[in-house]
Amino acid sequence: MPNSALAQVSNAALVSAIMLYGFAMLAYACDFLYNRRQTEVAAPVRPARATVNSGVLVGAGAGPDLADHNFGADPADPSELADLSGLTDGHGSGGSGSAGVSSAGRAGAGLAGAGLAGAGASGQPRWPAGPWLRTAFVLTCLGLVVHMGAIVTRGLAEDRVPWGNMYEFISAITCAAVLFLTLAAVKFRAYYMGLFVLLPVVIALAVDVVFIYTPAGAVAPALNSYWIAIHVTGMIIAIGMYIFGAVVTVLYLMASRHERRVAAGQESAVAGIMAQLPSSTKLDQLAYRAILFAFPAWTFAVIAGAIWADHAWGRYWGWDPKETWSFITWVVYAAFLHARATAGWRGRRAAYIQLLGFACLMFNLVGVNLWITGLHSYAGLPH
């Protein structure tokens, strides 16, 4: 029987996590508003064509003249995407020109390679710059720790893996999304993602707590298997990363639109925010990396689910609505990966395919749980 004291601790922790995320969002927003220094902070980095002696390469990001060649020679080669070092590149000043050339130029102006490549002794600080950003990041990390605490106490209260119904599942996938946010922030210096990832996370968690809350309790016998730890954990990791990738892709679409408008000499409504974000090329690369991680994780989770289904229901694949939609999701994300490798489908078109895949994923999570009954009806919601 559930331990109600621990369950209450879990509930309180989740609400605290939401508040911390909210404050973090506020700080991220303040950072966008007040911290103009960021671009300048990034300025003193080495020029792209640092000497070989210093360990950074000549020609890594390439100048504008070579940029075209890079694109022409092998469009699949992301080397022109010099790095993903976020705020450090001079997007705001890098400015105009066609998307390809300007992005390469920007990559050249910024610290090419070092952040992403982690090229040995480049000595670049990976920690957030500026008091607002630092505050925001610390709040995010605190929120994440409290959020994890909420999940762990919930699991202890129930004496089982704490992802047995929709309430717990949403808490877990948002936690995974924030975890990946913090990892990407440090690894690729993508601190700018904070506000944009936390926004859907906070909304989802608020809906989760207010409308979907399910008291702590045991799971149905069908879920009482060690496979829940394997299959559902895999799903959580994959979905957390898919969420991150989708948010980056939305930003990419905004950035690429903004760049096209600027290139065409038109007004851009989002110029203020875009000035603080990296180029569309970098966002695209970051989103792609997210999917490169999420897709195998999803594949693994689906395979684990098939093995479990075989143990529980006597068939590894039975076209249950949930299975069908995870198949559809897999196929659409596979199409995205193939589109990225195909001339003419890269860029915005591929981004739309990725968002379509995400829509399928969300439909599987929400729509199938609420409107379609099947063997996976574990949401714990009244129909």
Binding site: P47, R49, T51, V52, N53, G55, L57, V58, G59, A60, A62, P64, D65, L66, H69, A73, D74, D77, P78, S79, E80, L81, A82, G108, G113, L116, A117, G118, A119, G120, A218, A220, P221, N224, W227, Y288, R289, P296, T299, I303, I307, H311, A312, G314, Y316, W317, W319, D320, T324, F327, I328, V331, V332, A334, A335, H338, A341, T342, G344, W345
Partner: protein, 554 residues
């Protein structure tokens, strides 16, 4: 399946030259179209789109009852949906057409690539390009020793990093990372394997269902099974000859809290023999804990109650005395519906339809319902019929429904029976006694020889996927030439499959190592001297210099 852009381009280029297409050219064109990435993308989308109706419409293979329900709810639409295979989407010809085309496209793309990879793995890497500065990664520095010696050391360095080498006059071309393509091919070929495994299961496997009342037995033969779906090439003699007796079935439920009434565990105690006359073994069959006998898996997929009835007819004969499985119609109280057919009764055949209530209570409106799934206060409510059951009409009948077309309702009392109670039928038709109840379990029996191949294929696909994402195929080129007094070493890198990124870092590391190993005491100075401080277009400057150095060297 990476883009065969070159092929498409070739086809496009070829078309104006040959305005008239012969049949062979058409075939070739068609094959190219089919195996092109664009077609594969379209087919992938079609596959996703075609799966959607399978999740929205009820499917014959998953929930036949829902299909029947759909027929009653939409009598006009249902036949049309059925004609379009809407109730069997994943077995429909159009779904098969999409995935077969997709897999043909995949095979047509992957197999030639596999041959190409096999060929290129036996050949040395291509020659080094003439102009390194055109490559995405390039650098240069001055070396201390003469060109040949420097190249030899460079070759040693690359060999130590397990590059495959090709050397020429003053240059080295090195390649590494064939596992990228291997992983990519493995992934796609494993998908073909997965399809093959599914087909194997479809041809040689079978699925069956059996509703088994506690205390009863059955043998694994087509006639003993309630539902039997054999694969295309399965005959009755292929069935594994085991038999199963369910000695007892128990279910427990949560008794307190908000989840009250939800099941907490099921257990079916079985005795089984793998073959006729073989030793009997015991097994506790539970959810997530199937029985494996002779490669066949037996699963516990459902349960319910089978009230036991005894019917004495007008002639005083006991014409019926057996448990009757009732089918649960609600999950909270496990209220179950069922029918009793007594064709042997005289003077008239008897039929009853009724409900079993595990924990009966009277609602405020005066009806009875069940409050809890366990049999705390079991009751049955029955409606009686007399007349002709229609069993001899030749029309197949479900054992769970009563055809009352040729029957009339009879007045029975009491309508609600507790275990041990009887109802007397009017007009001297006899008597029915509710003697007690047993539980039944429904078992799914599956045999799928494609299961293990499918698992292996799926894991191979996953492994291939990860391998292709992690490994990049890359080439490193080195050129050394004398420049007046010293030796200039140029280094360039190229990758085609740097999906996960990081080639830049690898190249940077390599460049640092090369310089450390190859540059002499004068090297760094010279290198710095080569660096023109031109912040406006730095790369252009250095590229020009490289080109210049090259032309000088040659």
């Amino acid at each position: 399946m990476t883009a065969d852009v070159a092929d498409v381009a070739q086809a496009a280029a070829a078309s104006p030259e040959k305005p008239r297409f012969g049949p062979v050219a058409w075939l070739r064109w068609g094959w190219r179209q089919l195996t092109s990435m664009r077609t594969a993308l379209v087919l992938l989308f079609l596959l996703a789109l075609a799966s959607i109706p399978g999740s929205v419409l009820p499917q014959e293979g998953i929930d036949p009852a829902a299909v029947t329900q759909y027929y009653t709810a939409h009598p006009a639409l249902a036949p049309i949906v059925a004609r379009l295979s809407g109730f069997d989407v994943f077995g429909s010809p159009w779904f098969a057409a999409i995935y077969l085309l997709l897999f043909t496209s995949l095979a047509g793309c992957v197999l030639p690539r596999a041959f190409r990879l096999a060929k290129s793995s036996r050949q040395p890497p291509p020659k080094a390009p003439r102009h390194f500065h055109r490559l995405p990664q390039a650098t240069s520095f001055a070396a201390a020793r003469p060109a040949e010696e420097t190249l030899e050391s460079a070759a040693g360095l690359l060999r130590r990093r397990r590059f495959r080498l090709r050397t020429g006059d003053g240059w080295i071309s090195a390649e590494k990372g064939y596992l990228h393509e291997v992983g990519n091919l493995l992934f796609h070929i494993a998908l073909l394997g997965l399809l093959g495994s599914v087909a194997l299961g479809g041809l040689f496997g079978y699925k069956a269902n059996k509703l088994l009342v506690a205390g009863n037995s059955f043998a694994n033969t087509p006639t003993a099974l309630d539902v039997f779906h054999p694969g295309r090439l399965v005959t009755a003699t292929d069935l594994q000859p085991f038999s199963i007796t369910m000695t007892n079935f128990s279910a427990s439920y949560i008794t307190t809290g908000t989840q009250r009434g939800e099941p907490s565990s099921f257990n079916a105690e079985l005795r089984y023999t793998a073959q006729y006359g073989g030793p009997a073994r015991k097994y506790d069959l539970q959810v997530n804990h199937p029985l494996n006998v002779d490669g066949v898996q037996v699963f516990l997929i459902g349960h319910g109650y089978a009230p036991v009835f005894k019917v004495t007819d007008g002639a005083g004969q006991v014409v019926f005395n057996q448990p009757v499985p009732f089918i649960p119609v609600d999950t909270t109280g496990l209220t179950s519906d069922g029918v009793i057919k007594v064709p042997d009764a005289s003077p008239q055949e008897l039929g009853f339809s009724g409900q079993f209530l595990p924990t009966a209570y009277e609602t405020i409106t005066g009806t009875v319902a069940s409050a809890f799934p366990a049999a705390e206060l079991p009751r049955v409510i029955l409606v009686g019929y007399a007349g002709n059951l229609g069993l001899n009409s030749g029309q197949p009948q479900s054992i769970y429904s009563l055809d009352t077309a040729q029957m009339h309702q009879i007045d029975v009392a009491p309508k609600l029976l507790a275990p041990g109670q009887s109802m007397v039928l009017p007009h001297g038709l006899g008597k029915l006694t509710f003697t007690g109840y047993r539980q039944w379990a429904s078992l799914a029996i599956t045999y799928d020889p494609g299961q293990m191949p499918a698992l292996i294929s799926a894991l191979a696909a996953l492994g291939g996927l990860i391998m292709s994402f992690l490994v990049r195929r890359r080439r490193i080129f080195v050129r050394a030439g004398s420049d007046g007094g010293g030796t200039i070493v140029e280094l360039a890198g190229l990758t085609r499959s740097d999906a996960a990124g990081g080639f830049e870092a690898e190249f940077a590391e390599l460049a640092v190592e090369f310089e450390r190993e190859l540059s002499g005491p004068a090297g760094p100075d010279l290198a710095r001297g080569d660096d023109p401080p031109a912040p406006t277009a730095p790369q252009a400057g250095s590229a020009d210099e490289v080109a210049l150095a090259q032309s000088k060297g040659e």
